[in-house]
């Protein structure tokens, strides 16, 4: 059976990304191997921007596609948009990064595009096997990307560690899918939902859900599946960290939301509750003692996964699950903006071989590079959750959803954690503005491409902090759509 034409429009962003990915791979060998890969980067950027605009066409065609394997709804479009924007911003920031690192490899951009296909597909796939494939597409690309600083041992370590633990985790997920199929006789998330709502819930389903949560918990770097995070983030190239700390995470959270809510998966409340609390506490305590900025933000990303999981357990008795879901969506988007921004600043400041990544290197940055320091400060304040930044409303929505569900204890834990977190983000700001600059750390101009990508991250962060209403309304509507 040949699928109807509209089906292709429903996966248009993925198609555009794949097309440009192949184009990049074809163009790369034609270039002089000793020349910088800027043109390839621009080509990939064009592809990513077209993919962003393709999400608008996709949004015009809601519905099922490819025999019910893909479902386009507001929820899927939201995450498609977030993920493709992340890809575009990261590619743009990578161009100057690759130049300073003297890495001449066009496949880098190809891998980002292919990886983004997986991340995007995660939010629209409703067939668990397709979810698994999407997960693998996004993971395998990021495994390779993590090792792109070939000359640095830490980068190789990062790639290998991520690969070994990552494949282990996807195996867990696959096992969970198999058990779920055994329990319900289907791999379609919505059909599973019908079965689980209408009959007795078999024990196997509980095990299946738990295993899937383990697999996805690894992808979103939530404790206790977080041990890989600091090492991987430290070794991987900074723009890649910007990508993998936001894109695959957003995708994995999207899958988790669909499986847990649309499939009415049973018995996960306390499981996620514990994951959320552990992630917040371990992430924040771990970050307190870090002296490497990349490691610090790695622990912070564990903590943020925890805050986001708080939104999952916000299940009011009235059954209005869309508050929690929309809060999680908003959090994923605003976390993406501020974290991508922070890592782009780090990538620029790191110089050749990412030499300058310790806190001492950031001393006096406010003196030497006032604009860069001011921008990083905004992202850090957003990560703390200070008003007029997206991070504030993200936390606000999550905690108010939790309070609606009467989870006062969890909110108190979360609030105390965000107070602890203020300390270590503040440490970076203190180093930048209140310490004397260190000798020999260079002052570098901000290249145009990088400046533009920073501007995008900055504008989104502030936009979400000043007028969050429209985004949240959209998230609320699409959460309802997703549940239907």
């Amino acid at each position: 059976m040949i699928p109807p034409g509209a089906d292709y429009l429903r996966i248009l962003p993925e198609l555009v990304l794949t097309f440009f990915g192949i184009l990049v791979m074809l163009a790369d060998p034609l270039m002089d191997p000793h020349k910088d890969r800027k043109p390839i980067g621009i080509l990939a950027f064009v592809g990513a921007v077209l993919a962003v605009s393709a999400t608008f066409i996709q949004a015009q065609h809601p519905g099922l596609a490819f025999s019910g394997m893909v479902r386009v709804d507001g929820f899927a479009v939201f995450f498609h948009f977030v993920v493709t924007v992340i890809a575009a911003v990261v590619i743009l920031a990578s161009i100057s990064y690759m130049k300073t690192q003297q890495i001449r490899a066009g496949e880098y951009y190809g891998l980002i595009l292919f990886g983004t296909v997986g991340m995007a597909l995660l939010s629209s796939a409703i067939e668990l096997v397709l979810v698994f494939i999407a997960l693998e597409i996004s993971s395998i690309s990021t495994y390779v990307l993590a090792g792109f600083r070939r000359r640095a041992a830490t980068s190789i370590e990062s790639s290998l560690k991520y690969f070994l633990l990552g494949s282990f985790a996807t195996a867990f997920f696959l096992y969970g899918v198999a058990l779920m199929f055994g329990a319900t006789g289907s791999t379609d998330i919505y059909k599973i939902g019908e079965v689980l709502r209408n009959g007795n819930v078999p024990t196997l389903a509980f095990v299946g859900v738990a295993l899937m949560i383990v697999g996805l918990g690894f992808k979103v770097a939530s404790a206790p599946f977080h041990v890989w995070t600091p090492d991987v983030y430290e070794g991987a190239p900074s723009p890649v960290v910007a990508l993998m700390s936001t894109g695959p995470k957003a995708g994995a959270f999207a899958v988790m939301l669909r499986i847990l809510f649309a499939a009415s998966a049973p018995g996960w409340f306390w499981l996620i509750w514990v994951l959320a609390v552990l992630s917040m506490i371990i992430g924040n305590i771990g970050a307190l003692v870090q002296n490497n900025v990349k490691r610090l933000l790695a622990y912070s990303s564990i903590a943020h996964a925890g805050y986001l999981l708080v939104a999952f357990v916000a299940l009011p008795k009235t059954g209005e699950y869309n508050y929690g879901i929309s809060a999680a969506m908003f959090y994923a988007a605003s976390y993406a903006a501020m974290n991508v921004g922070a890592f782009i600043v780090i990538s620029h400041f790191g110089s050749l071989n990412e030499r300058y990544t310790t806190l001492d290197d950031y001393a006096g940055l406010g003196h030497r590079q006032p604009i860069l320091a001011a921008i990083l400060t905004v992202f850090l304040l957003s990560l703390i959750g200070i008003p007029i930044t997206g991070g504030f409303f993200a936390k606000f929505y999550v905690f108010s959803a939790a309070l609606k569900a009467n989870l006062v204890g969890l909110v108190i834990i979360g609030v105390i954690n965000s107070a602890i977190a203020a300390y270590y983000y503040l440490r970076i700001i203190v180093y930048m503005y209140m310490r004397e600059p260190r000798e020999g750390v260079p002052v570098t101009r901000i290249p145009a491409g990088l400046g533009f990508s920073l501007a995008v991250a900055l504008i989104v962060t502030i936009y979400l902090g000043v007028v969050p209403g429209r985004v949240l309304d959209f998230a609320l509507r699409s959460a309802q759509e997703m549940l239907r």
Binding site: Y397, S400, L403
Partner: protein
């Protein structure tokens, strides 16, 4: 055009002009002289515009005035709701009055990163005014947190040796305390569906907030902690001496003059306004802490070898009076508390300016390094004496009125409160006058002090307004009190009702 046509917009204008000035400053070339003049012009303009408020304020009218209420964010339902009553109006004017003085006092002492300094100062001003005019809890929290970052940066970037320690301590104390307030604010929204102060107040009084009865003690504490740290109330005052000693002069002036008042203002507006019952039942231990603060602050000030730290501890003592006045729940006590807030802002602001002027010449705050300064610097000594007397509470100067009213209110509430607090007045006369004697009288002990230049015209320009304000506030308190009185009456009405109900049972 009739100038009262401005009424709905004046608060927005006054609040955001400093911010607009800060944004313009960002694009200024780094010519320090222009930057200083521009900052002065912006702050003076804000002050002049803020005088519109007392000029058009209708005394005796119930509720808030100069209100503006627009929707800002639809989900959650957050409004841009501004308005002032007699209390917050004068606090706004206090803020706009002190900021130009801060600009003038920082004229020479800040010579590195001048542009950033004045940008931070103006941003801070917008946030401070915002705190006093916001009537939407969310908006209030917005501005409340907004004061934190510029102030911490001012301390951390322009302070003295231990500035980083002081800045981080200040930030963490306030931040940790205010997240509890945020949790309470979110609770209100989750249950009542609104952030609007006025709407919440009516909903609570009508008993329309589900679960309020059980949660109220905790909510009260959550708000109280945030404000108590800011005031600062004993025993959470320990950040204050560090912050004051390390801060640049302008930072100290605004910290003592305005930021501490945000705490007492919060207690008055929210703890009394939203939780009259809890305010009443918790009053005894809060008053106890306030009295401990009055006496402890005074005793510690007595033995300080550091001039600036002495003034800082005197703030702990004075702010104890404010809290005592607020929780005495008497008309006089509350009016006095508000008056002490204003008077303390001017006289302690003045003292910090004077300390800063001395530091520019001598680079020390150690009292042992000074002595006999009245000989080389007679004009300076006169200003200092005047300000010290205002702070001590000499009749006909501003400190007297407020302290007298607070003590009268405390006696009315319970005689023992009044007796204990009254000793604080004696202590404050003791440590301030003793300090004055050691610094200014006697022989000049250190030769460097012989050649200290007296006040320049610019420094006098910064000090004269404060001195005149101190005198006028002492001679004609009615100018202020007639606006404060009705606001205060509205604030204690629910508490008093509560008390009579309890007694009637």
């Amino acid at each position: 055009m009739n100038s009262s046509a401005l009424n709905p917009y004046i608060l927005t204008i006054v609040t955001f002009i400093p911010l607009a000035g800060a944004v313009l400053l960002m694009f200024f070339p780094r010519r320090d002289r222009d930057i200083r003049w521009f900052a002065l012009a912006v702050s003076l303009l804000t002050f002049v515009l803020s005088l519109h408020l007392p000029a058009h304020f209708v005394n005796g009218q119930q509720g808030f005035q100069f209100e503006i209420n627009l929707q800002w964010i639809s989900t959650p339902n957050i409004h841009y709701h501004l308005g002032v009553d007699g209390v917050s109006m004068w606090l706004v004017v206090l803020t706009t009055f002190l900021t130009p003085l801060c600009v003038m006092i920082s004229w020479k002492s800040i010579h590195d990163r001048v542009k950033e300094f004045f940008i931070l100062l103006l941003v801070l001003q917008t946030a401070m005014i915002g705190v006093f005019v916001a009537l939407d809890l969310f908006l209030f929290y917005f501005f409340w947190e907004g004061t934190l970052i510029p102030m911490a940066l001012l301390i951390g970037m322009y302070g003295h040796e231990r500035r980083i320690y002081a800045a981080v301590k200040f930030f963490l104390y306030t931040m940790v305390a205010s997240v509890f307030m945020l949790a309470a604010i979110i609770w209100f929204y989750a249950k009542a569906g609104t952030f609007d102060f006025v709407a919440l107040q009516t909903a609570i009084q009508a008993g329309q907030v589900p679960g309020f009865a059980t949660a109220a003690p905790w909510l009260f504490l959550a708000f109280f902690v945030a404000f108590a740290v800011k005031v600062p109330l004993f025993p959470v005052h320990t950040w204050l001496p560090d912050a004051h000693v390390e801060a640049p002069t302008a930072g100290s002036v605004l910290l003592a003059g305005v930021l501490l008042k945000m705490g007492t203002y919060g207690l008055l507006r929210f703890n009394l306004g939203l939780f009259p019952e809890q305010a009443r039942s918790n009053a005894p231990w809060i008053i106890a802490l306030a009295i401990i603060g009055i006496i402890y602050g005074a005793l510690v000030a007595m033995i300080q070898p550091n001039l600036k730290k002495l003034v800082a501890y005197s703030s702990v003592s004075h702010l104890g009076f404010v809290v005592l006045g607020i929780f005495s729940f008497t008309q006089m006590g509350l009016t006095g508390a508000v008056y002490v807030m204003l008077a303390h802002g001017i006289s302690t602001g003045g003292l910090f300016m004077l300390c800063g002027i001395l530091y520019e010449r001598r680079h020390t705050y150690e009292i042992s390094q000074l002595g006999g300064l009245a000989t080389p610097m007679p004009v300076y000594a006169t200003f200092f004496l005047f300000t010290v007397l205002a702070s001590v509470g000499l009749p006909l100067l501003n400190g007297f009125i407020g302290e007298f009213l607070v003590l009268a209110g405390a006696f009315q509430a319970k005689a023992v409160y009044g007796v204990l607090a009254a000793t604080g007045v004696i202590w404050s006369a003791g440590y301030l006058l003793w300090m004055y004697q050691r610094v200014f009288y006697g022989k000049v002990k250190h030769d460097v002090n012989l050649t200290l230049p007296d006040l320049t015209a610019r420094e006098q320009a910064a000090l004269w307004p404060a001195a005149v304000a101190a005198l006028v506030m002492g001679v004609a308190p009615l100018l202020w009190i007639k606006a404060i009185d009705p606001a205060v009456r509205a604030a204690i009405q629910p508490v008093v009702q509560m008390t009579t109900q309890v007694m009637g049972r």
